[in-house]
Amino acid sequence: MTMEFLGEFLKVTVLAGLALAGILVILIWKKGLATRVTYLRFLVQVVAMVAVFYMFTYPIWQLVLMIVILVLPLFLGRVFCGWICPFALYMDAITLIRKAAKVRYRLLPDKLNKSLHNLRYVLLLVFLLLPFVLVLLDPPGSLDLATLLALRLGGPFEPWRVVVGPIIPLVVPWVGPLAIGEIYFSYPYVQEVILYSQVVFNELAVNIIAVVFVALTFVGSFFVRRVWCRFCPTGSSIAVVNRFKGFKWAPLLHLDKDEEKCTKCGICKRVCPVQVTEVYEQKGGKINTSMCMLCTRCVEMCPYEDCLKVKFGGKTVFKSRNWLEPSTIE
């Protein structure tokens, strides 16, 4: 009974949320704020989170989502990270709290930022290899290797989940790590953290680790904008492909800079939530860094007409303009 009621309640909430988002779109459009990318991005993120919540109610959608995450970036770059990822929405929400509290964000040193960028491959490898390592550590016993491997991959350890990790919404439609009443709460990667630490630690320690993880990411993203995006393993697929010369054609969606229109005022560097310096430093042309999440904050803020552009397959989708309309910038 309660479950059913809760399900209905959730559905109504979600529908109401979508309706609200629709109204917001119309309002933004009417106010002429449609060009304000930051508003639009928040909206897309909220709608995407609701959609992801529904997707997670059916296992098959998880698979679709995973394929989307793995294949789409080849052509669209990391637009997923910038515009859809729910974890990014949490971090942006925390940023809003920080702004309200009038606390200054901290910058990571450029060198550290670049090495964090490489850390994502290490994380990805660790997550993918861990089940196999566990197989080796845990002697097969009576079961043969193939069966055990199948158990490991399908069982509690689902290495592919590392890719879906950040997409897990706060409220989950399955039995999550934390329950208040009948509603289960989760947090990106927290299930993985619990699962993997269970191998070594007892239950109390596991809980402490989970709480510490949540607290760390919260504090981290409070002081550093989009801290997780800097080394998130999910963002690696496009990055891996971009490293090879033969795949430079692959990203259909990319940033383009007109060097002659640039005055090197440094705004693009300062407003970037993940401190990408390439947009500022590169001398025009296609910006190829895989650190960029295509959140287009720089394009929004660049005050020089046509200097920065978002191009989709050679066509300009969005470009920088003379944005000087005071008071509505934020």
Partner: protein, 442 residues
Amino acid sequence: MKSQSEEKKYMPELPEKEVEELRKNITATSQRVVAENIEKMKKTDPHRPEGMKYFDEIANFSMREKEIREAKQKGKKVIGYTCLFAPIELILAADAIPVRVNSGWYDASKLGDRIVPVEVCPVVRSTIGAKMIALSPYLELSDALISVLTCDGMTKLGEILSDYKPVWAMSIPRVKDSAQSTRLWIEEIKAVKGQIEALTGNKIKSKQLKSAIERTQKATKAFRRLQELRKGPPVIMGRDAMLVNQTYMWDDIDRWTEKTEALCDELEKRASKKDWACPPDTPRVLVTGTPMIWPDNWKVPTLVEEANPQGVLVADELCSGERLLYDPVGVDEWSMSDMLNAIAERYLMASTCPCFTSKDGNEDRINWLLNKIKEWNIQGVIYYVVRGCMLYAMEYTRVKKVLDRMSIPVYYLDTEYTREDVGQMKTRVEAFLEMLSARIDI
């Protein structure tokens, strides 16, 4: 016996009578020159935009001088600056009046010769001369000066002027794009903020600073609108637009924005009626180099636009011109520290002053010129340098190389703060414009 602190380090003690006489003479000349220049501008474009009336009025120093005097009596402070790197937003946020105090009087530069050698840039010499005889109302009225140590002349100018009033020197890093430069410059901005607060007695809070930034952004917006209008066939003469731009250096910023927007409205109407200020096939000229300052140093634009064949200035790269306003302060978060960072970066990194170098050696200036040439459809460039302006003179070779590659004719015009070479310059400018119009015909 004068005490050590009262003794002037540079300035000579001139007899009262001589000062009075010089001031009378030069002020009279100045009044005449202002009237003459405006008259000439009216003659060049017989149906000048109505909106220019206001700028003609404010171009005459006495009107704004009176206003500032009244504001001062009410307790407002006036802060002068010599280079455009002084953070105007901070001055506005502290409820003070910013004025640029560089002098454009030819006659005053001869007085400056008594203190510094003739080899020194005439802008500096003229400012010194103006101070000697209390010629510039803005320099006289300012309670303190922000002296940004850009070129050698400006560095010592601040020192010389400190004989009269408090001068806050801001040392600007010469490398534009390194992290340590930005750090130093932000510290300088913070220091000057403290000094402004101490002088005015108003603490600069983030609310005031935000509104000050928004005010300058509005001004930039109005100015950019005017620039956009100049992209097409000439809807306004270059001198008129330059005067609009110059008056920003001393006018009340909100009123200036309002009047410029009004002017743009009028020009837009004219453009839709295809009512041009001069024939659309007039050679389009860009002028770059040493600042040209109202009222006296108006000879180059006058020559270009009164020459036969006529030319029209559609863009410039002067720190007394477009560079004053072209770059906005782009704030990411409206917190105090981010606003200060944004202000610091706008003044340091976006500037194309040749006093800088960077990893690619002030390539920003080249890019600026290339962009202007393409977007504003420039047919010829006048590279204007006054004697003694080393930095602009030295960058000429590089600029010429780039422009040659694009086959844009560039003409190096070196001159002085003097009226004597106008006749000779006229011949040279006319020859250049003739060549340009011949190229257009082909």
